[in-house]
Subunit: 339 residues, 2 copies
């Protein structure tokens, strides 16, 4: 049974949406055999009334932490100066085995720096990666992209480690048999790209993975690949470009659909279709980016996530715990190091 601790103070809408998400998860898993135990870390005087108001004060345990980290605070300063922040306390609780996972919508850099400092990395992992889930065609409907921004100037060794961890994740947490792994490049031919991606391709093709070679930005949303590895600078640009295009198209769709009477009528008739479309591409549905490679489970929620989005992050953590993801990554990294 998984024990999930959430950060009561991270993100743009904390603790409101965090508590709302906890209530949703509590209701959703009410009769489930694998119901997670839920906790929230932060300032009791703020969190207790919120839990009481949501009617879940008796089922969600509060872990006290006196400090909070701002969204734009320097990660290095937050790491050194705020030892009683919700992230510090949460990561220590996971390290000490009190809780199985920490979920936070807080400052990404601080979450990564503090988690890395307290939990350390799995042997063989030089740099943990942020793994982001993207919507895609195909049966799974998902592609995992990593690194999505934790590291810049990744080496081919780093990309190789990302490939191992990403493959473990999709197999364990998403149940995809021998996930297809690709390297993000600017063409499918072997001669394309930087030396780093060429060397990474060579090195990943030696592993016991279902490696399919180079993929391009267009492949991310098709049924061509399950795990895409790239440098964190490139991955972050791809992710934010995706967000930007999706917002742009949806904003224009809304504008056009409210522009005339017939368009408004059309929208009414098509509202089921539009709702399905929204579910398909809604960033909230794909929210919850695991920080892979840490010696403990940490999941990052988007800072602007709503309650649905935050609850998805809790489910990501829950699946990571239930599927023994950490042990699987430890095992795969050991195999790699012994090669």
């Amino acid at each position: 049974m998984s024990r999930i601790l959430v950060d009561g103070h991270g993100g743009d809408h904390a603790p409101g949406i965090v508590v709302e998400a906890l209530a949703a998860i509590h209701a959703e898993y009410a009769d489930a055999a694998n119901k997670p135990t839920l906790g929230i870390v932060g300032q009791t005087e703020i969190l207790l009334p919120a839990l009481q108001q949501a009617g879940i004060a008796d089922v969600v345990q509060i872990v006290p932490a006196s400090e909070t980290i701002g969204m734009s605070e320097s990660p290095a300063m937050a790491l050194r100066r705020k030892k009683d922040s919700s992230i510090h306390v949460g990561a220590r609780q996971v390290r000490d085995g009190e809780w199985d996972a920490l979920v936070s919508a807080g400052n990404t850099g601080a979450l990564m720096a503090i988690s890395k400092f307290i939990l350390k990395t799995i042997p063989g992992v030089d740099r943990p990666a942020i793994a982001s889930m993207l919507p895609a065609e195909g049966k799974s409907g998902k592609t995992l992209l990593l690194d999505a921004g934790a590291n810049v100037d990744s080496s081919s060794e780093h990309l190789t480690q990302f490939a191992i961890m990403g493959s473990c994740y999709m197999e364990a947490a998403e149940g995809i048999q021998s996930p297809r792994v690709g390297v993000l490049n600017i063409g499918s031919e072997d001669i394309k790209g930087t030396d780093v991606v060429k060397m990474a391709s060579a090195s990943i093709s030696d592993l016991d993975l279902n490696f399919i070679g180079n993929v391009e930005g267009t492949d991310l949303f098709l049924d061509n690949v399950d795990v895409v590895v790239c440098d964190g600078f490139v991955g972050n640009v791809a992710l934010k470009t995706m967000e930007g295009v999706a917002h742009f198209i949806i904003a224009n769709l809304k504008r056009e659909f409210t522009g005339s009477l017939s368009a408004r009528l059309g929208m009414l008739l098509a509202q089921n279709a539009l709702r399905k479309l929204k579910t398909r591409i809604d960033p909230s549905e794909y929210n919850g980016a695991p920080l892979l490679g840490l010696n403990g489970i940490v999941v990052k929620s988007h800072g602007s996530a709503d309650a649905l989005g935050f609850s998805r992050s809790i489910q990501v953590a829950h699946r990571e715990v239930e599927s023994n993801l950490k042990s699987r990554i430890v095992e795969s990294m050991n195999q790699w190091m012994e090669q």
Copy 2:
């Protein structure tokens, strides 16, 4: 008056859509004072019947070239071995002043390599860049992204040159007064990103440009910036990610809208709105990527462009000629080198 030569053999649908685009441009500028003179380079025995069928054999001049370059041929081999290819002949015609610009939907690498070899670069430009236009909010409705894939491992000096050229382009060819120039990064703070982007920011901020600092992937589609510079690997990933998301959303939109009777009725009522949306985000409307920094005007059309898309590329070339873009870049590069 501009003289535009188009490659009769480049792209997935040549010469069909190329000839169709020429006919469209001929019709569109029929009574215009600035009507471009049109030519097509390639195999007469193929192109003449096509022009005749389209009824434009008397207004479009054929420049003979006996060879063609395949879309997946090695640029280096094409450069050395196919001296009578449509791209070689076209670039030589531009170099020799017979024509003002070459437009091709052919092999991007070969077009860049051959153009660079024959036309050379403008003094001060180390590497020409591919500049791609993206749809965006705001009055201009456009953002220029460069480099979109001509160069990998760009240095901060290269990014600085891209900033100068991109700013010249948006001012001259698009008529945007003091375009806002940004560096693509993974956060807006100065401490973010690689050393190359930090150094590029420092160097661009010393120029006489409207430099706004770091921008992110989401900014590309907002009214926040007009010219975004980045390494070609990063730019290509951003561009193809954009294409991938747009296709994914539109495919899902179509699927949902044809899924039920009420959705189909809704689509009928909203068809004007959907048509406007399509025009707004249609890649054809934004087609035509100038290769900036060459000592001559060359425009790359997407290989899979339709006739509308190819005609937009011809218009890009036409605007570059009419606005004296090359002289403006020469002048700006000279100012920079004298600093």
